[in-house]
């Protein structure tokens, strides 16, 4: 799993690439921790190249959502398979999608 964080148009963009399974979760979480110090900027998690997500990954997303200080969190371009997982767990209602 590869994580890239950039700033673009006043937003923090985290690009995820690969499989976000339980094995990859700890690393990914660490890599995404800078997002928590976003100082009011909106966060966009780009999932265009994320092939797979399991519950550990969802947990990471959830904790980001919970721990930002008022910033909006958007998720961008999830695949159909990943969307199915969001629906199955009800997470489809928790996040905003772009």
């Amino acid at each position: 799993m590869q994580v890239t964080i950039q700033e673009q148009d006043g937003n923090m963009i985290a690009t995820l690439e690969g499989r976000l399974d339980t094995a990859a979760a700890p690393e990914t979480e660490k890599a995404m921790s800078p997002l928590l110090d976003c100082e009011g900027k909106d966060i966009i998690i780009d999932c265009t190249k994320m092939e797979y997500i399991s519950s550990s990954g969802l947990r990471i997303f959830l904790s980001i959502m919970k721990n930002t200080n008022g910033s909006h969190v958007y998720i961008r371009n999830i695949t159909d398979d990943v969307r199915a997982v969001f629906v199955m767990t009800g997470f489809i209602h928790l996040f905003e999608f772009k």
Binding site: R19, D21, T22, A23, Y52, S54, S55, S56, L58, R59, L62, S63, M65, K66, D80, D81, A84, V85, M88, T89, G90, F91, H93, L94
Partner: protein, 692 residues
């Protein structure tokens, strides 16, 4: 309500009284009217009879008196020329006729020049007859009525009655006949004096009425016979009947006081009226009493109807609570179930329940002590506790123990419930069960026999009781038949019971005809009981449940197996394994990804929880398939851990409300068709199945 109702009852009651009173009054009136008329008629007839009788008696005397005189008329006429013969004639008249008290032959004044006034009078004095003379100055007989009027009338004449002072103050009357001489001229008057003292006696000898009296009036209206003064009451109402006596011109009357005639009927009418009034009074009292009772009765009936309707509603609720979706052979290929419950009253204390969770059939049957509303409430509570406890407990003995603690703790009324709890593992046919004082079920498969059951005490009696677990394998085609004592103790009219032997016989019969599918078996048993019971009233709730294990073993081919350490870093190896298996069974990429997700969640769960932290352990994942499904079996040797009893995730909670964690099993359930956990020989065995 009371007022209106009272009006409803009072109105007809009123009418009843009025009609009764009118009927009585009118009929009484008619009766008394006609009675009075009849009595009056009767009195009249009697009086007239009496009058006639008296009149005839009087006439008799009158005729005698007249005859006395007439017989001597010719000799009197002849005596006119014989001096001093007048007195002889007179004497003869008196002598010959005992009723005559005096007689005189008085000459017309101046007829006999020698004796211008001559009236010798013969009268009785004691036994003798003496002759007196009436020709005195004081008496002046020519002007006396008996003399003058006879001559005036020219024929027999009865004088007005008079008191004869000379003769002892007796009432008298005189019959005088003028005597003609040879030349046809009236020369004398011959009389007969009649004492009337017999008249009073005769007239007052009224036989028919005690207080009636007679009145005899002379021609001129003088009273000859009348009531004694005490008898007379001027204001008294009387009935008077009158007849006339010929010849003398007297009027003979009978006077009867109304009281004498009508007294009797008046008293009767009075009594009857009083009785009628009493009767009406009693009628009113009775009606009031009836009305009060009727109101009370109606109130009770209303209450009763209210209770009955509530019971009907309660009965409907109870029926509604029982599960109805029996798994049939059309819906499931591993188990078929059927049950029936007939309460003895509207609501009852028998219960049964079943549901399938994670490839296990949870079922129970029970009987609350008692009947009716209390038992039905207890039954409802018991059932709901069964559901709650078995949601997180899969072992029947633990389910029973926990149910028992809860129920015994809240049991104020010393009720209890006999209960049989069973958990049938559908993939393997392994039946785990626990019996709390309930009738042992019948196993109908290879033969017919009782399922061996430990005798635990019923639920609700002792909070601390530890229930025992029992196990038995069910071979495909075997039916467990469960029932309550409403079946064994079903009574016919002579109070003989259905008993276990008959249940056995029916089961044997069903098995022989291969009719031991749950609904068939229960129908057969129901018919048998109905035939046995006949017309007797159902004495207890009748409950039956039958579970048939139908799973046919399919050919299974083991595909692959992998053993991992409890290290989440080995998850990619799991992914590769799953990809291979899915390809082998022909799943498309999307499904394969889902399989990956499910397996990852399940295996990671095991890795995290099965072994104590820090301990290395192995996790085995087997994949096998038959012609309908793919099965993954995850086995570890860690501590007993049943992931299926975790509460399902509430995916409707918002971000803030969501706990972090708990999603894993939820995802597995969503993706896999079934998830099943067993603890076998010290191993956790978690089975995930997916239809092909």
């Amino acid at each position: 309500m009371t007022k209106e109702f009272f009006k409803q009852v009072a109105k007809p009651g009123f009418m009843l009284i009025i009609v009764a009173a009118l009927t009585l009054g009118v009929s009484s009136f008619i009766q008394s009217y006609f009675s009075v008329k009849g009595i009056k008629n009767g009195a009249m007839l009697r009086a007239e009879g009496q009058l006639e009788f008296d009149r005839l008696r009087i006439m008799d005397v009158v005729n005698q008196a007249e005859a006395a005189v007439r017989n001597s008329v010719w000799i009197a006429s002849w005596c006119l020329n014989v001096p001093d013969s007048q007195q002889v004639v007179a004497r003869r008249v008196v002598e010959d006729n005992p009723i005559v008290v005096g007689s005189t032959l008085a000459l017309v004044p101046g007829y006999d020049p020698k004796h211008p006034l001559s009236a010798p009078y013969a009268c009785r004095e004691g036994d003798k007859i003496v002759i007196k003379s009436l020709a005195t100055e004081e008496y002046d007989y020519p002007s006396q009525e008996w003399f003058a009027k006879a001559i005036e009338a020219g024929e027999g004449y009865w004088s007005e009655p008079y008191i004869d002072e000379g003769g002892g103050n007796i009432l008298m009357t005189t019959y005088s006949v003028p005597i003609k001489d040879k030349n046809g001229q009236i020369a004398a008057v011959l009389t007969a004096d009649l004492s009337l003292d017999w008249l009073a006696q005769l007239a007052n000898n009224i036989l028919v009425y005690d207080n009636a009296y007679s009145v005899v009036l002379s021609r001129q209206g003088k009273m000859m016979v009348g009531p004694k003064n005490e008898d007379q009451n001027e204001n008294e109402k009387v009935q008077t009947y009158t007849t006339k006596v010929e010849r003398t011109g007297w009027t003979l009357s009978i006077v009867i006081p109304d009281d004498e005639i009508f007294g009797g009927i008046r008293r009767v009418v009075g009594m009857v009226t009083i009785l009628q009034l009493l009767g009406i009074g009693m009628l009113i009292l009775i009606l009031r009493f009836v009305a009060k009772n009727q109101m009370k009765y109606n109130e009770i009936n209303e209450k009763k109807a209210a209770i009955e309707s509530e019971l009907h509603i309660a009965s409907a609720i109870q029926k509604g609570m029982l599960p109805k979706n029996f798994p049939t052979s059309a819906q499931r290929d591993d188990v078929t179930l059927y049950a029936s419950l007939t309460p003895a009253k509207d609501v009852g204390g028998d219960l049964f329940d079943f549901y399938i969770r994670d490839e296990k059939l949870f079922f129970c049957i029970g009987d609350v002590s008692g009947k009716g509303v209390p038992a039905s409430l207890f039954m409802a509570v018991t059932r709901s506790i069964f559901r709650t406890v078995s949601a997180h407990e899969s072992m029947p003995d633990r389910i029973m123990t926990e149910m028992n603690k809860t129920i015994a703790d809240m049991n104020e009324t010393s009720m209890f419930v006999t209960l049989f709890v069973g958990v049938l593992d559908l993939p393997t046919g392994r039946l785990r069960y626990c019996n709390a004082g309930h009738d042992a079920p019948l196993l109908v498969g290879a033969g017919v026999g009782l399922l061996p059951c430990d005798s635990n005490i019923p639920v609700g009696v002792k909070a601390s009781w530890k229930y025992t677990l029992q196990e038995a394998p069910l071979f495909p085609g075997t039916t467990i038949f469960l029932y309550t004592d409403g079946l064994t103790e079903a009574e016919d009219v002579s109070h003989a019971q259905f008993q276990m032997q008959r249940i056995n016989d029916v089961a044997v019969q069903a098995l022989a005809g291969q009719k031991h599918e749950p609904q068939q078996l229960i129908d057969m048993m129901t018919n048998a009981v109905h035939r046995f019971v006949g017309n007797a009233e159902q004495s207890d709730d009748l409950t039956m449940m039958a579970v048939q294990y139908t799973k046919q073993q399919r050919d299974v081919r083991l595909l692959k197996s992998i053993v991992l350490n409890n290290d989440i870093q080995e998850v990619p190896q799991l992914a590769a394994f799953v990809d291979e298996v899915c390809e082998a069974v022909g799943f498309n990429p999307a499904v394969t990804m889902q399989m990956n997700l499910a397996l990852e969640e399940a295996v990671v769960n095991v890795m995290n929880y099965a072994y104590p932290p820090g301990i290395r352990g192995k996790v085995t994942i087997d994949a096998s398939a038959n012609d309908v499904r793919l099965k993954f079996t995850i086995i570890d040797r860690g501590r007993p851990f049943d992931p299926t009893v975790q509460a399902d995730v509430d995916t409707t909670l918002s971000v803030k409300e969501r706990p972090i964690g708990g999603l894993g099993i939820h995802i597995v359930r969503q993706i896999m068709d079934s998830i099943n956990y067993e603890r076998i020989d010290g191993q956790n065995v978690l089975t995930l199945r997916k239809k092909l």
